[in-house]
Amino acid sequence: MKPIEILLDECLRRMEQGERLEDCLAAYPQQQAALRPLLEAAAAVRAIPAPVAPAAAFEKGRAQMFAAFDQEFLAPPVSKSTLSRYTEQIIAWITGKENLDMNLIKRLAIALTIVMVVLAGLGTTAVSASNALPGDLLYPLKASAQSAQLMFTFDQHAREELQHHFEAETRDDVRTLMNTQRPASVNFIGVLEQIDGDTWTIGGLPVTVDATSALNGTPAIGNRVHVLATVQADGSILARRVIVAPPDAGKKPDFDGAYPPPGGAYPAPGQTGTPVHEQDQDHDQEQEHDRDQDHLRKTATPAAPTPTAASATSTASSQYNEDWFCHKCVTPTAKPQDSDHANESDPPTGDDPSNHSNSGSADDHGGASGDNSSGGNTGGNTGDQHHEDDTHPDDHGGGHDSGSGDHGSGHD
């Protein structure tokens, strides 16, 4: 037997087609008792005349609709720019004249999110670079940042202090590499504090200076020296080249041929004061010479106009060191001969093409671092308007039984 709701629907359809209530009930004799009250209620409802809005209300509604039509479809198009419209909206919102458009809020939120993500990314990179050690991918970025900081420090005294701070920081980085026994090429500046055979103490770091190490200048206790070295797997530092800075190199370097001294008073490996120019003539030494040059290129920063800048005491990554080393000692174009030191006497100037080549290397370095509506709501789902579970058997029967206003208010 069919469920009562199916029979009811069938009877209602037959009655809609003109069949009488009694005829329909006769078709389902066993369900008459259940169907009759329902069909009578349906007939009573159907007997209610369909309400019709008064003609005046009908016309008024139509006029309202056409007014909305004129505004929506016939209004002149907005000619203002997006920016000016948004600005006006924000001003209107601030002044409380109208609510802020949700689209504007969304777009502002998206833009703000993008800016925050970019800033967070840059911040993360900067923090990572600040913790980088020589040999790390981000280390050149750190060196560039230091160089830029020096460049924009215009007070002489402050710049010198900053320079020494960076030098100490570089030595700390080298010390970290030693402690972690992490091999890497390093490049730092420090004061020669002690010479004990092959072991020199430079800036608090023990540096092995043996027969393979090249010396430029005459090292003496208290000199500031520039060290190109390798941190080896056992944590020791093996110098590849030690360059003695001129006496005032830390403050105002003089490149007018005064350093190194003509004739080259190069100390022998493991000794001071012994010329080493014979070794410089050695082919292997020259190869190392090139390697050092490459190293400097990799660790170089954007070139300063002249090597006589006050940043001459920068760390291994500073422009001063690069120029000091490249133009005075190991000019890239120098040939493996005695006369290669002759180049050292040539005062490098800002116009020197080799400076430009250094600038180019600095650029390369920079490149390396780079590698590193309500209507819309109303148009929603129809289902939104129905909150009752239609499968509920007798959801409101009690309320209807009582017929009290309580049910009505609850429904509201």
Binding site: A57, F69, G375
Partner: protein, 194 residues
């Protein structure tokens, strides 16, 4: 291919063609939609509210919003009437929020006066008024089924489409609505006016 399909749909469903014209800003299309759906929406408000004047005003507001938002209407999502009912539903909710107490509206202007005697009109008035009040005690979904079935004369299948429900659920809802109405009629005595 898409154009052909769209043309085929437009040929099959003139209402969709009308809506598409309205979306393109055709004033006459809006007029036609108003003519077609204004009585339906008015009846919805009439049985949902106690205030006939409010029903008139809210009916007008539905069509204002229809104009303002018709571009956002997408036919595959829901029938156009269901979309209008949704607008009406939201307006109804707003109305209930704003008016803490329902008011009883005069029914006279809504009743047809021709071809019935004063006695019949009084009886009809009383019975209609009684049933109208009882209808308000039904749930919103029950009201909707009664309204669309007996005043709009729509089939269960059509109502199911409007309500986004299975046809069987609509039939069950219809059964519960009539049963609840019958119980209320017996309680109040509306049926004794026959």
């Amino acid at each position: 291919m898409e154009t052909c399909e769209r043309d085929a749909i437009l040929m099959i469903d003139p209402e969709q063609a009308l809506i598409q014209r309205a979306q393109q800003g055709d004033r006459q299309a809006f007029a036609a939609l108003y003519e077609q759906y204004q009585p339906v929406i008015y009846r919805y408000f009439y049985f949902r509210l106690d205030d006939a004047q409010c029903a008139e005003e809210l009916t007008g507001e539905v069509f204002v919003r229809m104009v303002q938002n018709i571009r956002s209407y997408r036919s595959p999502r829901q029938p156009f009437l269901a979309w209008l009912y949704t607008i009406a539903h939201h307006l109804c909710i707003d109305f209930y929020r704003k008016t803490a107490q329902a008011k009883v509206a005069p029914l006279d202007e809504a009743l047809p006066s021709a071809e019935i005697s004063p006695a019949e009109a009084l009886d009809l008035h009383l019975r209609a008024e009684c049933l109208k009040k009882l209808l308000r005690y039904l749930t919103e979904e029950q009201q909707f089924v009664i309204l669309t079935r007996f005043f709009e004369e729509r089939s269960s299948q059509e109502i199911a489409q409007l309500m986004h429900k299975p046809e069987g659920a609509v039939k069950a809802l219809q059964h519960r609505a009539l049963a609840a109405l019958r119980r209320a009629m017996e309680k109040v005595g509306c049926h004794e006016t026959d």
